[in-house]
Symmetry: C2
Subunit: 447 residues, 2 copies
């Protein structure tokens, strides 16, 4: 058992325990002068410090009872276990919050695309970048060439970077393979990451991210390939929980997206949708009508889209780092959605083209400053709501008894400092399933 | 002597060697497969690696000559010195750029103001925040109460944070004292920081940051106090090189700013100006006409202001983190100024109200993505041009022979990655005056 003690401010979160039409929005619950107890990877208690003695003596009593009921031999063993068992971590009044959940990433890719960023800063249009060989297809080319081993090690280092910034669960998409072989390669990398890294990795299959060059003259052919071959194959291999489609101008139409998603649902995928990012193509409405777990981006969502989400079980995932990195200001989009009663989650959208950041704290600042959320709403969006957006609701994203003990101990007095300290990393230690898995070391300074 | 060898991409910079009417804009100069040699704190050579043997044998020859000309006894000593002297740091193909110069900070303050950020995210207006006791005056209250010792140690840790993000020179303002005693306290802290931290700290006196409460009914009284008493006092004590005034709506009028700055110039201060941030009050024109070294913010600059800067020796300092943190998008301001031929520098504006960030790389991303600079222009703005904006032009901000050997060794192939890797810290090692003063350690990860 681990007891995190002397917590100045503990955020436990609170919210609905299941989807009920637009009611997934969590809320921040704060306990001052608190403790958090974890056992076997889960939170067993969290509350004010003055309740800690009662918890400890209760545990002691139940242990004694166990021992009385057990034989002489096993009693000794049990005593030994109980002696080893309780570790107290005094955090000196620091703030503790649930580990961040990054609800939208494109984690597995080869190469960077900074030359494209340079071109865009010089005023190049999207079309000019495409003609110069840039865009998603540049990453597809590089990812196809890369070995599974190379992709795995690169993504592993990205997970380390995310962990150091407080992310303890992450959704990750394929979508840079765009053929069966290379999509499976990406998804196998995700399976291996899940097995070999402490972070929870939730895999999403995104074959409809772009039309691959070999199908440019046969768009319908690629959609048939997805529906007829790739969807059943990936399902058989059990490589992805979610199916996602990039439904937008220049990507897949609403009609194409619907065909792919409907077939996916039949095969047992839960669904997600890149919706209304560049143009309003009624993506939010489509996602809501199909019972998508989340619709993501939503920069161009209409009032009808907002209403559709409110009347659904679908979470809105906002990606404010992408907007900022692309030099766009979509006004107070987050505020609009929360005010309408839509549950809002956050993601980095980590990818080499439009959002090369792994930082959820940065996204929280942008969600507040640019998109109109409060720090409490941004934290909710990055924890409780994001967990629901990737199918981990009730398991992670909060620190209530029974939930996974994924927590951040911050070099800060209050969770409000996370978005406030723009660009800073306040993470001191990260707990994953009740164990310390990251310890900050700010580097060596010679003054 | 230190030789940084095996540099994949070395940025040396290049530009005018002194003010000549809008000509201070530097440019990025790149050498591939390069080395950098530093001695006695300065760059002695920088160029392609194939020139390194010639440099080394040249040094060897001149050393031998020295030895032949010297007596037996001192020859031994000299041989010993030369043996100790040459350290080679192989950086494995990494990119090396000049250390960042942060041209605008409010480094010395007590407390944070995250409650004010929460209020603002909840929709509170500036006036409501003021009525609730927020704004600059909240920091003034806390800074007046703080001891010099406490302010010093806090600012010291901020300098460590800046150094870890690649800043090697920083301008820092008073302005949270607003009376002789407490402004001097802040400036003494800056003097001590300069003495005890390796960073170059350039002190700016900012008595006209706000009207202090004790003068709310006697605005002219405070201006008289500044002109008649504080300006000469700080000058006598030699505590500040620059004088700055916050000239804007709700702060000081153009007329008041002019009176204070003119008197400051007479006393020997070089001048700066917070100009045209909230409203256009022709601050840029005022700064240019008075020969200010820089005018800062400029969100609301007019075409006349742009023209005035182009015809002056004044550098435009942009603070894009402030705009972003305050949720404002001022269009492609950086692009407009560079296209008009105005030299543009960057600063964090680090302060607890409107820009709680110490990160120049973050400012570079925002300068590119939101304000329209290219990565090369953003790097120039954060090095060469920023040095000129704080009176260190020609000494720091570049890696040409004779300049201070302040350099960043990056975990990156190209300087373009600095703004591209949004929110990441690519700094691997920092050299200040030819010595390694920071070494990154990303923290301990248990996978």
């Amino acid at each position: 058992m681990l007891i995190v003690d002397n917590i100045g401010e503990l955020v436990t979160m609170e919210g609905p325990t299941g989807p009920r039409r637009g009611s997934l929005q969590g809320v921040v619950r704060v306990v001052k002068n608190a403790f958090l107890a974890a056992k076997d990877g889960k939170v067993i208690a969290a509350g004010p410090r003055d309740e800690l003695p009662a918890l400890l003596s209760g545990l002691e009593r139940s242990r004694e009872q166990d021992q009385e009921e057990s034989h002489e031999e096993s009693r000794e063993k049990s005593q030994e276990e109980s002696r080893e068992e309780v570790t107290v971590l005094d955090v000196g009044g620091r703030a503790v919050v649930p580990g961040f959940v990054d609800a939208h990433t494109h984690l597995v890719f080869a190469g960077w695309r900074y030359q494209e960023y340079v071109m865009r800063c010089q005023g190049a249009t999207y079309q000019e970048i495409l003609r110069a060989g840039g865009g998603i297809l540049e990453t597809v080319r590089q990812t196809r060439r890369a070995t599974e081993e190379a992709l795995f090690h690169r993504a592993l280092s990205f997970l380390d970077e995310m962990l150091s910034l407080g992310t303890t669960s992450v959704e990750a998409k394929s979508g840079y393979g765009l053929d069966a072989e290379n999509e499976l390669k990406q998804l196998r990398v995700l399976r291996r990451l899940k097995a070999e890294h402490c972070l929870d990795v939730v895999p999403t299959f995104l074959p409809a991210h772009a039309i691959p060059p070999e199908y440019w003259r046969d768009r319908e052919g690629y959609i048939q390939e997805i529906i007829g071959s790739m969807l059943p194959l990936v399902r058989r291999e059990g490589l992805a929980r979610f199916l996602d489609v990039f439904c937008d101008e220049g990507a897949f139409t609403s009609k194409e997206a619907r065909r792919i998603l409907v077939r996916g649902k039949e095969l047992g995928y839960e669904i997600k949708l890149h919706a209304d990012e560049l143009r309003n193509t009624q993506g939010a409405e489509l996602g809501a009508s199909l019972g998508a777990v989340s619709v993501d981006h939503l920069c161009m969502i209409s009032q009808e889209g907002v209403r559709a989400l409110r009347e659904s079980d679908t979470v809105a995932v906002l990606l404010p780092a992408t907007s900022c990195f692309m030099g766009k200001d979509y006004g107070k989009l987050g505020r609009k959605l929360v005010d309408a009663g839509v549950p809002v989650a956050l993601g980095t959208d980590f990818n080499p083209g439009t959002s090369p950041t792994t930082s959820i704290p940065l996204c929280m600042t942008l969600a507040c400053s640019m998109s109109g959320l409060t720090p409490a709403e941004a934290l909710t969006a990055a924890t409780w709501n994001a967990a629901w957006a990737i199918g981990l609701g009730g398991r992670v994203g909060g620190l209530l008894p029974g939930m996974q003990a994924d927590a951040l101990i911050l070099d800060a007095d209050s969770y409000n400092e996370i978005p406030y300290r723009f660009g800073a990393n306040l993470v001191w230690k990260v707990l994953k399933k009740g164990k310390v898995v990251f310890q900050a070391n700010k580097g060596r300074v010679v003054r």
